[in-house]
Amino acid sequence: MKPFTRALGSIAVIALAGLTGSAQAADDTIKIGLEIPLSPPGDPAAGQLIRRGADLAVEYVNTVMKGVNGGKKIELVVQDSQGKTDVGVAAYRKLATEDKVIGVTGFFHSSVNIAVNEVAKEIGVPTLATQTSAADITAKRYEPAFRTHAIDPIRVETFLEFTKKMGYKRVSLVAETTDYGIGISEEMEKQNKETKAGLEIQKITFDHAATDLTAQLLQVKAFKPDLVINIGVGAPVDLIIDQATTVGLLPTTPMIVSYDAPERPQFWKLHEKNGVGIYFIAYYSPKQKLSDIGEWMAKAYKEKYGETAIYSSLNGFGDVMILAQAADMAKSTDPKAIIKALEAGTFKTWADAPVTFPDAPGVYYHNWSPPILVLHYTKPNEDWQTAEIVMEHVGGKH
């Protein structure tokens, strides 16, 4: 019995040591939450692109910077929001309470971000929105809510400037019924009134999950607009382009896509015949200067994926870098300390411009926005990097 008891005791000691060792290893790692859509009805393409950038940020911090906060490595904990608010909230809770992340970034769908921020307000782990633009994300002035993306008011300012530049008077908004789509539509009507732009606006909305928009696009055609603003996200963007072509709207009626979906490699595979002439919003052009870490990221991305990094990946990279820098500044992983660091600090990101999160009024609270570009494809299979830059808009009157 004695030898057996001794053996059992030894095993127990070794096991406990192992557990303790593991706990110590876990303490040496700083966890950053990445909440992205990886399956529909979210936009998994966007989620994957953001993740690519985030993964490269982890590599940069761990290998080039040799860790933060005294040499600690960072680790990504990824959750799939599916683009649904309930799933997104559950994911945030898990990241914040079980995984004990210092912050959660990666948000792509405004609805999810808005819902998560209601919970973040209580739990206190900061959220850093990567590509969500609804005003409420920061306009509610919740302390843990931050953003590094173009916001609806600035996007709509860009649309209005574009319509003025091109002399358009009748505009059709074809918007999905999400916070993003409705937010932009309402902001468009609001700014049209406030700025006395004098546009005649038709608002057509559709369910994000719809597969046939013929009925809606026939109404748009009957309205005879000068411009169609395509406010879908993910598959609906392409559906609108294709079905607008079928009903005869494109190519005669110009269309502008509300975000940088046409930059994705698949765009020309899906629209080889009807992609020419499309205008679209972009937040980055190779003609812009990158920061040193941005340059590193662009090179590493090209080597790893054989493609040029686009904004989703760049900003995914930037946001993880910002949270890592905040942990370094705060010398702590306590969420309150991270929030203080985010509010007080100046951060490096992919763009050659410092990032700050000011205590500014309204939607500009805790917000940093890149400038917005309008690009235009003028020939088939055109590389977005060489697309015509129709205009650049720098917004943010605060």
């Binding site: 529909p40 393409a45 999950a209 009925a215 026939l218 009903v247 595979k269």
Partner: protein, 297 residues
């Protein structure tokens, strides 16, 4: 804004999309008729059909031979279904299971999750299209892509062929006998388990056919079958579970109601109009317009 032209355009669009959705519904209702179970993974077989069409057209046959790729895609889905049935569905009948319905639900939902996640893992996040060289066709005042018009005609042909096969062949007779009474068919010497395998394969093959035909229209990605599955289930509730003519008529009704509602009432609630139709039919005739009450021993 109302106009006669818009009304006619919307009606034609609704009829066309309804017929296309009916193909999906036919697969669901056919499997139910024979195997007496609901296959919740029908959307994933639609998705496999669309991927098969994409791969065949883009990498092997080219766009001009899309019409060869379509039956090949449907056949490949039939074979996959026929291979899966003995593993997943046959145990329902081989073993003395008390809760067959629950078993079928669990198994087919598990299959749904497996296929969907497998496709997401393999295909990644992007959308694809086999493309089409068919030009735009004018149906009255409505411009329609050649691909959609071809899909519409092929669907009508498939439905007609299916009807003839059911009515005029020995296999069709056996399938109808099994639909009426599994025990009776078995007593008559029909290998009922083999028939289940064929029926399951045919049912999912119809979903694969729908996916292949609609691939150029609705694009190809891992969850492209979700919405068409929902439409399929709406149609079988409206038309009646187990009724083949019901599936076609209900499909057209659903397509027209959704189209007209989106065009003339409010476009964001396009899917809601379909569900309202379902509710209305359930209130008036709970078994569906062409369904019948059945007694199960």
């Amino acid at each position: 804004m109302f106009s006669t032209e818009l009304l006619v355009q919307t009606l034609i669009a609704g009829v066309m999309i309804g017929v296309l959705y009916a193909l999906m519904a036919l697969g669901i209702t056919f499997i139910y008729s024979i195997v007496k179970m609901i296959n919740w993974a029908m959307g994933e077989f639609y998705m496999i059909g669309s991927f098969a069409q994409y791969l065949l057209v883009v990498f092997l046959l080219g766009r001009d031979l899309w019409w060869i790729a379509v039956p090949l895609s449907a056949l490949s889905v039939f074979l996959i279904g026929a291979a899966l049935e003995p593993i997943l569905i046959k145990p329902m009948f081989r073993q003395a299971l008390e809760r067959k319905d629950e078993y079928a639900t669990v198994v087919t939902i598990a299959l749904l999750l497996l296929l969907r996640n497998l496709a997401t893992g393999i295909a990644g996040p992007n959308q694809f299209t086999p493309g089409s060289n068919l030009g735009v066709v004018m149906l009255g005042p409505l411009p329609v892509t050649g691909a959609r018009f071809a899909a519409f005609l092929c669907t009508l042909a498939a439905l007609a062929l299916f009807y003839v096969l059911l009515k005029r062949t020995w296999w069709g007779l056996a399938l109808r006998a099994a639909a009426q009474s599994r025990v009776g068919a078995q007593t008559s010497g029909v290998d009922i388990l083999r028939l289940d395998q064929i029926a399951f394969g045919v049912g999912v093959g119809l979903a694969g056919l729908a996916g292949a035909l609609l691939a150029p229209e609705f694009q190809v990605y891992p969850t492209n079958g979700v919405v068409t599955t929902v439409k399929g289930f709406e149609i079988i509730v409206i038309g009646g579970l187990g009724s083949i003519p019901g599936a076609l008529i209900a499909g057209v009704m659903l397509g027209v109601v959704e189209s007209l509602g989106a065009a003339f009432i409010a476009s964001p609630y396009q899917n809601v109009y379909g569900f309202l139709l379902v509710l209305a039919v359930l209130l008036i005739k709970p078994t569906g317009l062409f369904g019948e009450r059945v007694r199960q021993a």
